[in-house]
């Protein structure tokens, strides 16, 4: 692979589609990615960018380890895994929040250890540790809302976008931990040797950010 290309890790899925759309509007279009076929990486030699799709939770690893120079990852992933990367820009895309939710009639018994089901054990641990609350973490990989319904946990710590899934399952938000959005991240070493181009990409995305906030 040529060293002067900027390798960009995009998160697979709806957020990734929106992120690529933003890069494209900012002047970093890549026709190859729009007709993907079976290819795994997509280059535009004219603009000097190479994109590839990875699982959203893996974007930060690709960037931290230098396989990608930059990438776009959710703030939830950055706070859960604490990768050693630069967080250059809040793109404003994928806005949602990390919240504690529980069944509507839930009443917390402070005498008992709280059972917390989550995909984000580190975030949950930090939150309850700051409150001095004793908890039992149940690490799940999906369908977190099911846990309190079936009695597996008392509460869940999870991403809430519109709250529709919670409402449909008679759950509600009890506490909001922090707001989430997709961040432009960069490898610390790669940034040094491709500084000019990475800053060009950052500035062009930053110019579009206002539109995302509207």
């Amino acid at each position: 692979m040529k060293n002067d290309m900027i390798n960009i890790a995009l998160p697979k899925g709806r957020l990734g589609d929106n992120v690529y759309e933003m890069f494209s509007r900012a002047g970093w279009r890549c026709p190859e990615i729009e007709n993907p076929g079976r290819r795994l990486t997509f280059e535009n030699p004219e603009t000097g960018v190479r994109y590839f799709w990875v699982k959203p939770s893996d974007v930060a690893i690709y960037v931290e380890k230098g396989a990608a120079d930059i990438g776009v990852a959710g703030k939830d992933i950055l706070l859960e895994y604490s990768p050693d990367v630069y967080e250059l820009l809040d793109t404003g895309l994928g806005r949602c929040r990390m919240a504690v939710a529980a069944p509507k009639n839930f009443r917390e018994d402070l005498k008992k250890t709280l059972r917390v089901a989550t995909k984000f054990p580190n975030i949950a641990k930090r939150h309850y540790s700051s409150l001095g609350r004793d908890i039992d973490i149940i690490k799940l990989n999906g369908s977190i809302e099911l846990a309190p319904i079936l009695g597996l946990s008392d509460v869940i710590v999870d991403i809430v976008e519109t709250g529709a899934t919670l409402r449909q399952n008679d759950l509600e938000v009890f506490d909001t931990l922090f707001e989430i959005s997709a961040r432009l991240i960069a490898n610390k070493s790669g940034y040094r040797f491709k500084r000019e181009k990475i800053n060009m990409i950052k500035s062009s995305l930053s110019a579009l950010k206002g539109e995302n906030n509207d």
């Binding site: 380890k65 610390k188 070493s189």
Partner: protein, 366 residues
């Protein structure tokens, strides 16, 4: 000469250190665990390999070299300039077990003056340059940052969060934090601008003088700006001032720096003035030093040495040992490495392959 192996890089670093008069400091592999227990925050990983010595003392395999040097330094003897090349034992990332890590570096402890600081920064830049690849040394000053933290009236938690956000190059996060700490907007703006300084040393010195006049102690600013000018004159664009280079405030006090080499995804050199650590260890003198993480540089050399041996000699099973030996001896003339085996090994690369004929002659294959 560009080093081709980690051994050659070690020799190059040794030369850099010894030419500046630094003496090799050879230490034992073990140290009392108590030293690390008291200074856990200074260590890269809190996990330390321990064992009970025959006299009942709890000992540790060294996870760090600096702490031992500081503990053993003699304060009354001016300045002590030493270098080391040691193995340290640390838990790997994500705690997937302990690893032995090769580390080289130097420490300058005692009556450390501004010359010593410039000398150590220069040696750090030379160490990076000796790798023979594009490289960059990034320098920052925690003392200047802390003066602005004081002016911002940051709480202890706010200071830690600010250091983290500055280290992430995350100005929007820093702005939100300063708002939540009710910092006066004019000072907040100064801190955000300082956190964004990422320029060649001479340019950075100009910006710092402009930005920080009347905001920090004149003496600190002048000394750092002078150091920047010196680094710019000596090393040009190899040295930059980047305030996202940060360290633990309880150990590091003044200048901190990190080094990067193209092709390695994280910093390969890290150091700074650790007067805070000296105070914690009840030493009155000052100190500065750095470590080069040789294990991170190893992958660069592996790709350069793409052959496992110069020559592969394949002999038939019926060949007499003395015939094989004689053929191998001939091929190795001139210092070439020869691997002598019955069949071609899988997954290995050779410059030349020879087969031993029934008549005892080595015939080149390709």
């Amino acid at each position: 000469m560009v080093p081709r192996t980690s051994g050659e890089l070690h020799a190059a670093l040794k030369e850099v250190f010894e030419l500046a008069g630094y003496r090799r400091y050879k230490m034992s592999k073990f140290e009392e665990y108590d030293l690390y227990a008291k200074n856990k925050d200074f260590l890269v990983s809190e996990n330390v390999l321990t064992f009970t010595d025959l006299d009942g003392r709890l000992m540790a395999l060294k996870p760090d070299v600096t702490l031992s040097i500081v503990k053993n330094c003699r304060e009354s003897e001016g300045v002590e300039k030493v270098y080391y090349h040691e193995n340290v034992y640390r838990a790997s990332e994500k705690n997937l077990g302990f690893r032995e890590i090769s580390q080289a570096g130097l420490e300058c402890v005692g009556d450390v003056d501004e010359y010593c600081v410039c000398e150590v920064l220069g040696l750090a830049a030379k160490s990076l340059l000796s790798v023979g690849r594009p490289c960059e040394l990034d320098v920052s000053h925690l003392g200047l940052l802390c003066e602005l933290f004081d002016a911002c009236g940051l709480s202890p938690e706010g200071r830690s969060a600010a250091v983290r956000l500055i280290g992430e190059k995350n100005p929007s996060g820093l702005k939100a934090l300063l708002e939540s700490e009710n910092t006066e907007p004019r000072i907040a703006e100064k801190l955000i601008s300082l956190s964004l300084i990422d320029d060649e040393a001479a340019e950075a010195a100009k910006k710092l003088r402009e930005l920080l006049k009347d905001a920090v102690r004149r003496e600190n600013l002048d000394l750092f700006a002078e150091t920047c000018s010196f680094l710019s004159e000596e090393f040009g664009g190899t040295v930059r001032v980047d305030f996202s280079t940060v360290g633990d405030l309880s150990y590091y006090s003044g200048i901190v720096f990190k080094g990067y080499v193209d092709g390695v995804p994280s910093s390969v050199l890290s150091g700074g003035q650790y007067n805070g650590l000296m105070k914690k260890m009840r030493k009155s003198s000052r100190a500065i030093g750095f470590a080069v993480y040789l294990d991170l540089l190893e992958p660069l050399f592996e790709t350069q040495n793409s052959f496992d041996a110069d020559i592969l000699l394949i002999y038939p099973p019926e060949a007499a040992p003395r015939v094989i030996y004689s053929a191998a001896k001939k091929l190795s003339a001139g210092g070439k490495s020869v691997l002598t085996v019955k069949s071609e090994p899988r997954g290995m690369m050779f410059r030349e392959i020879y087969k031993l004929s029934a008549g005892g002659e080595a015939v080149r294959e390709k």
